[in-house]
Amino acid sequence: MTLAVTACAGGAIAQSTPVSNGTSFVPGGPGATLYQPGGRPAAPSVSGTTLTGQKLTLAGYRGRGLVVLNFWGSWCAPCRQEAPALAALASHFQAGEVRFLGVDIRDSPASAQAFLRDYRIGYPSLNDPGDEIALAFRGSVPPVGIPTTLVIDRNGRIAARIVGGVSYDGLKALITQIARPA
């Protein structure tokens, strides 16, 4: 019935596909998966063009703090709900500490740019019209719904995944926990 709404997370997809990435995760709340430092899957090398036309690679962020990678779409209602929290957190953390990067899924540039303007999102977003970036994560932590947010540690390893919308406090606590030196 609802073609795109089912791809929008928090719903049936997230529930029907439990994470099966081995033994090293502990559930960190509804929709959140936290990976212990020893068992963090490596983030794939991802590159693409941002919505503003710049070339960007995820590998370029390596060693420069944590990366919060957010899969979103302007058509996705939970993405709209979490957008203010992401925008606020991106300005709360120093750029050398935590960097934010979006991956725009199943969207058109006009709608996506209107979204970024509307929510005053300053960090870049890769355009992913053919789902290549989403596909690149299949070997590590495949996004199972939109929005999905990944927290990638300093070594380029995925430390946490949140399926569904994030809250300001929840994501902030998660980032702080992961950023803390082990």
């Binding site: 019935m1 609802t2 929008c8 709209r80 709900q81 006009a110 053919g130 996004p143 719904g145």
Partner: protein, 614 residues
């Protein structure tokens, strides 16, 4: 499903609780359920107890009874029938997994009925709990029936022929001759002949028993094992397979990953990482329609030109999807299950910015003209969010002031929209369908829904913005199915058929030889033959040939006569089957001595009796 004969244990059983007391335990009937718990005789079975005490059969007894019921052929047939009946709604009602758009249409057409049907899982029959219950019960029933039979068949296929009966003349086929060879030598020569003819031999004191046609058992065994394999393959498809849908506009690409799929229904053991990582781009789509006659407007052919890669970095390949020609990537099959139009709109908001520029898939509501419904949501328009709902008419005509589409091809494409402004309800985070406009927070803008041609615009009142209909594209809806059990199921099905044929065409037959010294000093050799009665004929002549051959190689003297006796004592219409294959001598009058019970007892081993029961 369970072969020609069902095992005796799977017959109709009377539930223990329903059994009548045959001998009252006491003179007066006690209260129901009354009586001392330990008062019964230790050997007293449920048969001699009052009904209420049947419960004392205990859990194990009930379980055994239930298992027998479940694995009976009757239950299997009832379940099979139920399964067929349960699939009917799947072909009558639109199915979520096959055509979600049709379900949406059904909701729109039957707003009161649809939620009730949905609650009964009638839009998703094959994933419904009650369907799974039938399927699992059938699975258990078949497995429980077939598995023990398989073991028995293995035993039967390995079994030696039974001992030769004493009086071979009582067998359905018999013959006798005299020879000068001593009895031992005559038997040995007969045994050698039978071995040469690939009979399985068993020898005893003064007799040889031979049996042939074990391929029948092999066929039976193949049938049963294939049946189990078939069940396993179907189950495997359910565990490791998945189904998905994806709507794809011409020019767009998608990858087989969960976020890119509109509908995704994985098997129990499928994780998102298991999806085959192919990417598909729809380069072009053409549909042809019948232009005249009663079927005018019906599609005559589709062709979707796609390019795809099996995995990132693999070479790009090209293919086309047509009717009955799905795309096969890595064992995953992609079918076209629908198509339609996606008009392209550009929306400029009140601040003068382009906030939307996209093809919007409209969903057909009828097939003859492909009149399609759709909505446009512009959540990032300022100062207020904008929404549009309307129809796309591929070939618009005006019939008495009412617009409709006369033909599915886009000969005169028009779009007619109602405009809304306000709150689309998207920012609260509640997921909503992209095909429905939640008008709860919206108000309709006072502008008439004039049909727009390509290039025409609709200027919204109050400076809310402008919508332009800039063109249209076509879309296809793809069903993506992966069923690793499909090929094994096909192979198992063919094997089951082959096994069944084998078991029908090959008859199991036995030949017995007894040799003893006759009154005149010569050796009398008696032959007897027994074949399954339900298989095709031919054993009589085979037996006659054998008898002649024995007699010939052993320098047999005088007559060899073969007497065929009707198998069933009561079937007089088989009298004509009394034929001599060589020089018949009806004077022997063998047709008189018939003792079916004795014959049954002496000739049939348990394995065969099991088979011949029905």
């Amino acid at each position: 499903m369970a072969g020609p004969g069902d095992s005796p244990v799977t017959g109709l059983r009377i539930p223990p609780g329903a059994e009548r007391p045959q001998v009252p335990a006491t003179g007066t009937a006690g209260p129901p359920g009354g009586g001392a718990p330990d008062g019964g005789a230790p050997d007293g079975g449920p048969r001699t107890r009052p009904p209420a005490r049947g419960l004392r059969l205990g859990l194990a007894g009930w379980l055994r009874w239930g298992w027998r019921q479940l694995t009976s052929m009757r239950t299997a047939l009832v379940l099979l029938f139920l399964l067929a009946v349960a699939s009917v709604p799947g072909s009558v009602l639109p199915q979520q997994g096959i055509d979600p758009a049709a379900v949406t249409q059904y909701y729109a057409a039957h707003p009161a009925l649809a939620p009730i049907l949905a609650r009964l899982s009638l839009f998703n029959v094959f994933a419904a709990p009650w369907f799974a219950a039938i399927y699992l019960l059938l699975f258990a029933s078949l497995a429980g029936c077939v598995l023990p039979r398989t073991f028995r068949l293995v035993g039967s296929a390995r079994q030696l022929p039974p001992q030769a009966p004493r009086n071979l003349a009582r067998l359905p086929l018999s013959a006798s001759y005299r020879t000068d060879l001593p009895p031992g030598a005559a038997l040995e020569s007969a045994g050698q002949l039978l071995t040469a003819k690939r009979f399985r031999l068993r020898t005893g004191d003064g007799w040889v028993a031979a049996e042939k046609g074990y391929l029948r058992e092999v066929g039976n065994l193949i049938f049963h094992i294939a049946l189990l394999a078939l069940l396993g393959a179907v189950g495997m498809g359910g565990l490791f397979g998945y189904k998905a849908n994806r709507l794809l506009v011409v020019g767009d690409s998608f990858a087989n990953t969960v976020t890119a799929l509109d509908q995704y229904r994985p098997g129990r053991l499928v994780s998102p990482a298991d999806l085959q990582p192919f990417s598909v781009t729809l380069n072009n789509f053409t549909a042809s329609y019948i232009t005249s006659g009663g079927q005018r407007g019906q599609p005559s052919s589709f062709n979707a030109a796609v390019s795809y890669t099996a995995a990132p970095g693999e070479p790009v390949r090209h293919d086309s999807l047509r009717v009955n020609h799905p795309l096969d990537v890595d064992g995953v099959r992609l079918f076209i299950i629908g198509h339609g139009y996606a008009p392209v709109f550009r929306v400029t908001d009140g601040t003068g910015r382009v906030v939307f520029n996209d093809p919007v898939p409209f969903i057909p509501v009828e097939q003859n003209g492909l009149t399609s419904d759709g909505v446009i949501k512009v959540p990032d328009a300022n100062p207020t969010q904008l929404g549009f709902a309307g129809v796309f008419l591929p070939t618009m005509i005006d019939v008495g002031g009412r617009l409709q589409s006369a033909f599915p091809a886009a000969l005169n494409p028009r779009v007619s929209l109602l405009a809304y402004a306000g709150n689309l309800g998207m920012n609260s985070g509640q997921p909503q369908s992209v095909y429905q406009l939640d008008t709860g927070g919206l108000h309709r803008l006072p502008i008439a829904p004039d049909p727009l041609a390509v290039g025409q615009s609709m200027k919204l009142p109050g400076g809310a913005g402008t919508l332009t209909f800039t063109g249209y594209k076509q879309w296809i809806s793809l069903a993506i199915t992966y069923d690793p059990g499909q090929l094994p199921a096909l192979i198992a099905g063919i094997a089951a058929l082959a096994g069944l044929l084998l078991s029908f065409l090959v008859r199991r037959r036995r030949v017995f030889v007894r040799a003893y010294a006759g009154e005149d000093g010569a050796t009398v050799v008696d032959l007897g033959g027994l074949a399954r009665s339900d298989a095709a004929g031919g054993f009589e002549s085979e037996f006659a040939g054998l008898a002649a051959e024995f007699s010939g190689t052993q320098d047999g003297r005088r007559f060899v006569q073969v007497v065929a006796r009707p198998e069933e004592p009561g079937s007089h219409d088989h009298d004509s089957s009394v034929r001599g294959a060589s020089n018949g001598d009806p004077a022997r009058g063998e047709a008189s001595l018939r003792d079916p019970a004795l014959r049954e007892a002496s000739l049939r081993d348990p394995a065969l009796r099991d088979e011949e029961g029905e």
